[in-house]
């Protein structure tokens, strides 16, 4: 937690998710866990690619991207590929967060350099748990590059 308490600004999470019900659940989980986080929501892949690129140039990069695989327009996988190729934002950790447990989806995500792949749990408690684990791992456990 030391790192977290030293931070002045909130930990910024960009969530790319076209299902408002899931966004809300993630919000619930973040509220429960009590970390100082700020959530930005993007609903489709094309906007996501634009937003991420803009964020890279504006030096207000998100600290973590939570990326749904099956979203409208540009797919989650394309967003992943585009982000990882962009030197300005390529180092931002991306956690794939998808309903799919298909081996092909998982393999493709890691091939495109996703930092983690988490299947959205069916059960509410498991879901909230998964989100707060992602949160605490990327906020409090790992060290991320300085901007």
């Amino acid at each position: 937690m030391a790192r977290e308490t030293l931070r002045k600004r909130p930990f910024e999470i960009l969530i790319v998710e076209d299902n408002p019900a899931d966004v809300r659940l993630v919000r619930e989980a973040l509220t429960e866990s009590g970390f100082n986080t700020q959530l930005t929501v993007v609903n489709d892949g094309t906007t996501a690619v634009e937003e991420i690129r803009k964020a890279g140039r504006s030096h207000r990069r998100p600290d973590l991207i939570l990326l749904d695989l099956h979203i409208d327009q540009t797919s989650g996988l394309d967003v992943l590929t585009a982000t990882k190729k962009d030197a300005g934002v390529g180092s931002i950790p991306i956690v794939m967060f998808s309903t799919s447990g298909e081996p092909d989806d998982i393999a493709a995500s890691y091939r495109e350099r996703a930092n983690a792949y988490v299947q959205k749990p069916m059960d509410l408690d498991d879901f909230l748990n998964a989100v707060s684990q992602i949160e605490s791992f990327w906020i409090a456990t790992v060290l991320l590059p300085e901007e």
Binding site: N19, A21, D22, L25, E28, T99, S100, G101, E102, K120, M122, D123, L124, D125, F127
Partner: protein, 366 residues
């Protein structure tokens, strides 16, 4: 023996000339035509198949039944002294297509008989049509199976998403607003949560059934002793809770997909643990080699299975009559069967109600 004498001996048997009868008795069309293509012989078989009587056909051109002259040239060019064999497209009297399996031989003239080509034609039109139909059916079956599989996969995927919403928000509602609900409201909400939970299990299992395709993914030698040890360790809690004894005899190494094999035996043992009688559950696994296959038996001392259910229980979502109180959606045995079939084996159950059940799995021994 000269060719001529050979021919005569065949024709004359005990002083009786059999050749005419023989030619008329065969099912096939036997015909001959001279070098100009004029028909000089026409048996009864030809009458039946082509619909032209002998009297009308003698002296007629072969092109009447073999309209494609290139066929005539083609068979002539191919043929030296040897027999030509191949498929020809002929026409009957009504112009209908006949597919003929034809064998032909070219002969020099002899006495009154001119140089000619003798041809025996078998009508395979119906057979070919049937073969094509079978092939089309097989293809269609393959296609619809694949379609069904991908449909089940996609459907169960797409169903998960809205179901997760129903389940999650029903639980959230329950957690946060239960106090504000009256007794009826709380009861209704419980039904929503329970229904969503059960459907979620069903969809998960449907995905399992769909995921195991007809071909095993990763074939390698699999030591079933290791597999059973892993399964026992995975199920150790369930085994302990049931107070069950699981004993495993020496098992063979088979060629298969390791994770799929694990799934099969996990499902079979789970099945035995779930369906138990009042006795302490005892599960025995042994193997026997029968020529080129291994037969592995999973025996239990459960309540047994009704005769009518012996085959039904391998169908997805079908549960035995006696297992209405048992948890699970009824896809475990269906998954096991799909995997074993994919491995070229068989799975079945033998049981007398009240005397336990034995699940047999056969696998090729390679």
């Amino acid at each position: 023996m000269s060719a001529e004498r050979q021919r005569r001996e065949l024709q004359i048997f005990n002083g009786v000339d059999l050749s005419q009868d023989l030619f008329d008795l065969v099912h096939d069309a036997v015909l001959a035509f001279d070098s100009s293509g004029t028909i000089i012989y026409w048996n009864q078989g030809a009458e039946r198949i082509y619909g032209w009587p002998r009297e009308e056909m003698l002296g007629q051109p072969i092109s009447l039944v073999q309209p494609d002259t290139s066929d005539t040239e083609h068979t002539a060019a191919d043929r030296s002294d040897a027999i030509w064999a191949g498929e020809l497209h002929h026409r009957d009297r009504n112009g209908a297509l006949l597919i003929m399996e034809s064998r032909q031989i070219k002969r020099d003239g002899l006495g009154d008989i001119p140089d000619h080509i003798l041809s025996i034609n078998r009508n395979v039109t119906a057979t070919r049509a049937l073969q094509m139909q079978l092939k089309a059916h097989a293809l269609e079956l393959e296609r619809s199976n694949a379609e069904l599989e991908s449909f089940a996969r996609i459907a169960s995927h797409d169903l998960r998403e809205p179901l997760r919403m129903i389940g999650s928000y029903a639980k959230l509602l329950n957690r946060r607003y239960r106090a504000q609900l009256d007794e009826d409201g709380a009861e209704f909400l419980d039904y929503v949560v329970d229904g969503a939970d059960r459907m979620s299990d069903m969809i998960r299992d449907l995905l399992h059934v769909a995921r195991f395709g007809s071909v095993p993914a990763d074939l390698q030698p699999v030591d079933l002793n290791d597999v059973l040890a892993e399964v026992q360790s995975d199920l150790s809690l369930m085994i302990r809770d049931a107070g069950a004894t699981v004993s495993v005899c020496e098992l063979p190494t088979v060629v298969g997909d390791r994770s799929q094999m694990r799934r099969v035996f996990q499902n079979l043992i789970e099945n035995a643990l779930k369906h138990r009688s009042t006795e302490t559950p005892t599960i025995q696994i042994d193997a026997e080699r029968l020529l080129d296959i291994w037969r592995i038996a999973v025996r239990d001392n459960g309540p047994g299975i009704d005769h009518e259910d012996l085959n039904r229980i391998f169908i997805p979502y079908v549960r035995g009559r006696s297992s209405t109180k048992v948890s699970g959606s009824g896809t475990g045995l269906a998954v096991a069967r799909k995997i074993i079939h994919g491995h070229g084996g068989r799975i079945w159950v033998e049981s007398e109600p009240g005397h336990g059940a034995v699940f047999y799995v056969t696998l090729p021994n390679n």
